[in-house]
C-alpha cells in the first residue's frame, strides 16, 4: 500500500472550527491536519463530541454560518482550490459533484415531500447538462447500482415508503450519482441494524472500487473500521491524536487513548466469565475547560509531569503519526 507516493486528493491543514455560543467562543476542532488519497478509505474515530462530524461538515462548509467560523489559517485543499476560503458559488460546484456526503440518519436525511427520483435527479441537474429523461434514466441506474430492488418502481416512491436500509441506499446513490472523488460518510451505518450495516458497508466497498472514490468514514465503531478502512485517524477533544494504517493501529497503538479505545471493544471468547469490559475512566473534557498540557492527561494511566505542562505535537514517525510524549512503543 504505497499510497503515500501518490498525490492526495484532499489536503486538510490546520483546520480549526469555532462555534459562537452563549458562554463564548469555543474551538470544536483544533488544528486538524490530514491527507486523503485517491481510492483509500480513511476512518475517523473517537468518542461522541470529539469533533468527527464537525471536521466533515467544516470541509463541506455545511455548518451554520451565523454560529460558526473557521480560523484564518485553516486550509482545505481540493484540486488547487482552498475550500476554507472559497466563495459559496465555488463551494456549490464542489458539493455533491466533487465531494459528496452521506449522513447518519437515513430516516430524516431525505426530504419527505419529494419522490426519491426527484431527489436523485436534483444533484444531476446542478452538476451535469443531462436532460430530464437522461437524468431519470441515470437515477434509475444509480438505484440499480446500490442494489435497490425494482428501481423503476422505487424511483417514483416517497422516502416514507422505504425501509431505513433502502433509504441509506438512496442516500448512497444520491452521493455517488455525479461520481465524486471524495465521499464523506458520517456514521452511515449507526442508525441501521447489524445485518443491514454489513450490507451497506459491502456496498460502499464495492462502489469505492468501481468509481475509485476516496472515502472518509466517520464512525465510533472500531469493528467497522477494521472491516473496511485502510487508514485510521483517531480524534480526541477536537485534536487529531493518532493516524496510522489499520494494521498498525490495531496491532500496535501508540497513543494511550487509542490503546484504551481498543481495549474497550468487546471480544467474543476473549474474556472470562464475570470479567467486566474495560472502560476509559473519566469523561471527555469540556471544550470550555480544557486541561493544560495533553488533553487526555487526566484520564491517562501513564501520565507524567510534562504531560500536564506541555501539550505534545502531532509528530510523524515513519508512515504514522501520533501526539504523545510517552508513546507506547512496541514492535513497529
Amino acid at each position: 500500500m504505497s499510497k503515500t507516493k501518490t498525490k492526495p486528493v484532499l489536503e486538510v491543514r490546520n483546520l480549526s472550527t469555532c462555534f459562537k455560543t452563549d458562554q463564548g467562543v469555543v474551538t470544536a476542532i483544533d488544528d486538524v491536519s490530514f491527507d486523503l488519497y485517491p481510492g483509500e478509505t480513511l476512518g475517523i474515530v473517537g468518542e461522541s463530541g470529539c469533533g468527527k462530524t464537525v471536521t466533515s461538515k467544516s470541509i463541506m462548509r455545511l455548518l451554520p454560518e451565523h454560529l460558526s467560523f473557521q480560523k484564518p489559517e485553516s486550509r482545505v485543499m481540493y484540486g488547487g482550490l482552498n475550500l476554507a476560503a472559497a466563495t459559496e458559488a465555488e463551494m456549490r460546484t464542489v458539493r455533491g459533484d466533487k465531494i459528496a456526503m452521506i449522513f447518519q440518519e437515513p430516516m430524516t436525511s431525505l426530504n419527505p415531500v419529494f419522490k426519491i427520483g426527484a431527489q436523485l435527479e436534483e444533484a444531476l441537474s446542478y452538476h451535469t447538462d443531462l436532460d430530464r429523461k437522461a437524468r431519470r434514466q441515470r437515477a434509475i441506474d444509480m438505484l440499480r447500482q446500490v442494489e435497490m430492488p425494482e428501481p423503476e418502481r422505487r424511483v417514483d416512491e416517497y422516502p416514507h415508503q422505504l425501509s431505513g436500509g433502502m433509504r441509506q441506499r438512496v442516500m448512497i446513490a444520491m452521493a455517488l450519482c455525479c461520481e465524486p472523488e471524495v465521499l464523506i460518510a458520517d456514521e452511515p451505518t449507526t442508525a441501521l441494524d447489524v445485518t443491514i450495516q454489513a450490507q451497506i458497508l459491502d456496498l460502499m466497498e464495492g462502489l469505492k472500487n468501481k468509481f475509485n472514490t476516496a472515502i472518509m468514514l466517520i464512525t465510533h465503531d472500531l469493528g467497522v473500521v477494521a472491516q473496511i478502512c485502510d487508514r485510521v485517524m483517531v480524534m480526541y477533544a477536537g485534536r487529531v491524536i493518532e493516524v496510522a494504517s489499520v494494521r498498525d493501529l490495531f496491532h500496535n497503538p501508540q497513543h494511550p487513548y487509542t490503546q484504551a479505545l481498543l481495549r474497550s471493544i468487546p471480544k467474543s471468547g476473549g474474556r472470562q466469565k464475570g470479567e467486566r469490559l474495560p472502560t476509559i475512566k473519566g469523561i471527555v473534557p469540556s471544550l470550555f475547560n480544557l486541561p493544560p498540557g495533553c488533553r487526555f492527561q487526566d484520564r491517562c494511566e501513564y501520565r507524567e509531569e510534562r504531560c500536564v505542562r506541555d501539550e505534545p505535537l502531532l509528530e510523524q514517525h515513519g508512515n504514522r503519526s501520533y501526539r504523545c510524549h510517552l508513546p507506547l512503543g512496541g514492535a513497529q
Binding site: L62, T93, G96, M101, S109, P112, E122
Partner: protein
C-alpha cells in the same frame, strides 16, 4: 385520494349532527318566544305565538327542519326579510374585506418570515422580529381609530384626496377601494405581526432539519434550499394556519364591521344576538358550524396533497 375525501366527509357527518343538536338545545334553554314578547304577555298569546312560529312542535321535528337548511324563515326583528335574504346580503360585504385581508396578510407575513429565516440571527432578522412584536402588541382598536382619523378624516380634510370613507358600504367593484381598502389594510396590519412570528418559527424549525443539510451537500443554492425544500415542508403548518382562519373570514370581522358600519355577517349576527332575533341566530350559527366542518375537511384534503405521508393513514 377520493376514498380519502369520502372517508373524511363520512367522519364529519355525526360531528355536524351533534353540533346542531347541541346548538338547538342551548338556544332553547331560555325560551326565545317568552323573552321576545317581553313582560306583559299572557300565557295564551305566548302559546299561540309559539304555535305560529313552529316552536311548539316536538324538538325532533324542528331538528330535521334545521338540518334541511331551510333558510326561508322570517326574521323576527327585520320586517319582511327572510334569513336567506339577510345571509345573502351580508356575506358579500364580509368577504370583500376578509378575503383580501387574508390574502394580503398571508403573502406579506410568509415573505417576511422567509426573509427573516434566511437572515436568521442577523440584524435584518432582529429588526423585523421587533417590528412584528410591536405590530401584534398594539390593540385592534388603536389601529381602527388611528386609521379612521388619519387615513379617512384628516387625509380628506388636509389634502383634497378623498381616498377612504370613515364608514359605510356600497356594493360594486368601483366602490371597493373607497369603502373596503382601509379596513382591509387595518386588519392586515393587525394580523401580520403575529403571523410573521408564527411562520418564521415554522421556517426556522424546518431549516434545522437533516434534509436541508442533504440538499446543501448536493450543491443546491441557498434560495433553492429555502424555496423548494423548506417551503414545501413548511406548507403543512402554513395551510393549517390559513385554513383555521377561513370560517372566521366568512363570518366577518365583527369589530371592523361595527366600527366601519359595514353590513357584514359579523354585524348582522351581533345585532341579532342583541335583539334576540332567534331564527337569525339559529340559522347563522348552524351555517357557521357547517362552514367550519367543510373547511376542516378541505384542510385534511390539502394536507394529503402537500404531504405524501398523510395519504396512508
Amino acid at each position: 385520494m377520493w376514498s380519502y375525501v369520502a372517508r373524511k366527509l363520512l367522519y364529519n357527518i355525526p360531528v355536524y349532527l351533534g353540533i346542531v343538536l347541541l346548538l338547538m338545545v342551548a338556544l332553547r334553554v331560555n325560551d326565545p318566544v317568552s323573552s321576545m314578547m317581553g313582560k306583559n304577555k299572557s300565557q295564551e298569546d305566548m302559546l299561540a305565538m309559539k304555535e305560529s312560529l313552529g316552536l311548539a312542535r316536538p324538538l325532533l321535528e324542528q331538528y330535521f327542519d334545521v338540518l334541511r337548511f331551510d333558510l326561508n324563515v322570517m326574521s323576527w326583528k327585520n320586517q319582511g326579510l327572510t334569513v336567506k335574504q339577510m345571509f345573502m346580503d351580508s356575506i358579500k360585504p364580509s368577504l370583500s374585506i376578509t378575503l383580501p385581508a387574508l390574502t394580503l396578510t398571508s403573502i406579506i407575513s410568509i415573505s417576511i418570515a422567509l426573509i427573516s429565516a434566511f437572515f436568521r440571527g442577523r440584524r435584518i432578522d432582529r429588526i423585523l422580529m421587533v417590528l412584528a412584536v410591536i405590530g401584534m402588541s398594539v390593540s385592534f382598536l388603536v389601529y381602527i381609530i388611528f386609521g379612521q382619523y388619519y387615513g379617512a378624516y384628516l387625509l380628506t380634510k388636509e389634502t383634497s384626496w378623498d381616498l377612504f370613507a370613515i364608514g359605510g358600504y356600497e356594493s360594486g367593484i368601483e366602490n371597493w377601494s373607497y369603502y373596503c381598502l382601509l379596513p382591509v389594510l387595518i386588519s392586515t396590519l393587525v394580523a401580520v405581526g403575529y403571523d410573521t412570528r408564527f411562520y418564521r418559527a415554522v421556517m426556522v424549525e424546518e431549516s434545522g432539519r437533516d434534509y436541508i443539510i442533504t440538499a446543501k451537500a448536493k450543491g443546491a443554492t441557498k434560495t433553492k434550499v429555502m424555496f423548494v425544500h423548506m417551503l414545501k415542508n413548511a406548507m403543512i403548518p402554513i395551510i393549517t394556519r390559513i385554513m383555521t382562519t377561513l370560517p372566521f373570514l366568512i363570518m366577518g370581522s365583527l369589530l371592523l364591521e361595527v366600527y366601519f358600519n359595514i353590513p357584514g355577517m359579523g354585524r348582522v349576527l351581533y345585532k341579532a344576538i342583541q335583539e334576540q332575533d332567534f331564527p337569525v341566530v339559529q340559522s347563522f350559527v348552524t351555517i357557521f358550524a357547517a362552514i367550519f366542518i367543510l373547511s376542516n375537511i378541505l384542510t385534511d384534503v390539502l394536507y394529503a396533497l402537500v404531504d405524501p405521508r398523510v395519504r396512508l393513514s
